[in-house]
Symmetry: C2
Subunit: 353 residues, 2 copies
Amino acid sequence: MRRNAERMRERCRALGLRLRPHVKTHKTLEGAELATGGTRRGIVVSTLAEARFFAAGGFDDILYAYPLAGGRLAECAALAQRLQTFQLLLDSPQALALLQQHPLPGTKRWLVWLKLDCGNGRAGVRPADPAALALARAIAEGAPEKVTLVGVYAHCGDTYGCRDIPAVQAIARATATAVLDFVTVLRQAGVPCPQASIGSTPSCSHPVPEMAQLTELHPGNYLFYDLQQTLLGSCHPEEVAIRVLTRVIGHYPHRNQLLVDCGWAALSLHGRDQAPTGCAAIEGHPQLRLVGLTQEHGQVEAVDGQLDFGRFPLGSILALIPFHACATAAMHPVYYVHAGGKVVELWHPVRGW
Amino acid sequence: MRRNAERMRERCRALGLRLRPHVKTHKTLEGAELATGGTRRGIVVSTLAEARFFAAGGFDDILYAYPLAGGRLAECAALAQRLQTFQLLLDSPQALALLQQHPLPGTKRWLVWLKLDCGNGRAGVRPADPAALALARAIAEGAPEKVTLVGVYAHCGDTYGCRDIPAVQAIARATATAVLDFVTVLRQAGVPCPQASIGSTPSCSHPVPEMAQLTELHPGNYLFYDLQQTLLGSCHPEEVAIRVLTRVIGHYPHRNQLLVDCGWAALSLHGRDQAPTGCAAIEGHPQLRLVGLTQEHGQVEAVDGQLDFGRFPLGSILALIPFHACATAAMHPVYYVHAGGKVVELWHPVRGW
């Protein structure tokens, strides 16, 4: 994890960009401390529970990169008051109106990023849509004493549909270009927009030169990586820094299966139909695959041929490399952090919203 | 939830059976209090974390219905010492040897259920396999002053692959018959086995007469029910006692989609490819379906035709009926319990292992 954190920081240094790590994968103070290189400044969160947890843990410059919902404005105002820099994201005139109608007290202003959808097809306005320029202008010029436009933000989550690095890089290039072209349009329109940020672990693990023109990157998963990222080419298998340990609890030779004490309650069902070995790879045992997960049981088979039960006596431990670290981490109330073969720390993630 | 608890208790009373509710779906003291009709006696758990939590909450007669793993024997011994009745399950001679080699101190004995696999294909010995009788005999006769055979236990989880009630009942009948035939074999062999228990919410929601010859049923999901159970015919839609509330946070007319603030972090991915409306049904809106879930976002579309965005203004609340309550409940650190339109209690489930 330290190495993954350091490599991403080096990559951003080389590009002359700031790294604003997303914390939603691990959701721990310790992980974010590593990811920020100890500064505890400049992170992205996706829930207000995360924002409060990291604020209470001494973090600042927190971007709540999630479409603003009216019902949660009071919580955002409390965070803006508490922190030196609390930033919001929006993609609709309604959300902007809400901020303008509820200014922060004193000299504080709402700090706003405009969310762009550059092909990912989730939240955001499409930069080529005239509504995008209109909204950026409305943020910057509508009530400048109340609301400030900080930057534009895009998530290239469509990289997860890729099958190789060139395809990931093509999306990264298209996203960066669309964001930068939009910033040019803003500049030409006289709309100040100092920051431009894109993210996703696949794109940030193999950045393209066009990304150097942005100001920030905001990947999150890379701190752990996972089987999915390995299949996408984001990392080598030995860079994956997350495992679920499980015990063999049953031998069923008549159906050529082992049972292990790890079900979806410990792994999630992510990747079930996407990876050749199921929701996880079994470290050191490429001849095995997870074929079934119920709440607390996992069924393990041989990829082909007869399972060698003698190699896996009852009680033996297998290490599972999860398909999707974000999903697996979300199932665990504590992470066992090890170094030199010993558990050296327990990390407790925040949950809820 | 009260009604679901009461109906299952009535069903068991009518059959002359004890209800031993499984608590792994809700994992709360309050839910188990309802399910046991206030007695706090006679439950099934699937993790030792649950066993300790319910023991600390005043529950007793707890069956840890999970293949015994050697590494966890000390925790089991502590529970056996702490509780009047702590029961274990096993399906291998190795697990039995472990118990015989580590007897409980004083006059306590290990209380053991033999796990049978009557077609479900997960844990358990197949009752027609000569190893089943041999293992039952070894439990009962091997070291009777240390280990007692309490009963036989089967989970007919294969009912979840059914498409209608007759198919569920056929499996329930086959499972009950296989268990009872095995008990007969034991009796003929002079092996005392006082209890026989089967479970699964589909089978226990429409019990067949053969089940009356058992001594216990151990369903768990029925306290909530869910979309999956509705599709299986286990319950009517209005009996489902779990919802995830979510807000509309975005309108995207160009792709005919709403965005809601509920992703897999709040719902899980269970049912993604199994239910016509995705991982949940949207209550009161059969014309909508959830087409995509990322960690904190859900994408909602019209089943066909154009979405009427005017009906779903930003900030409006939708109630999601989860496909799989066990999986959705596992994503939440707290349940908001309501009555008469008001939140009246917060329930906190146990997690971990």
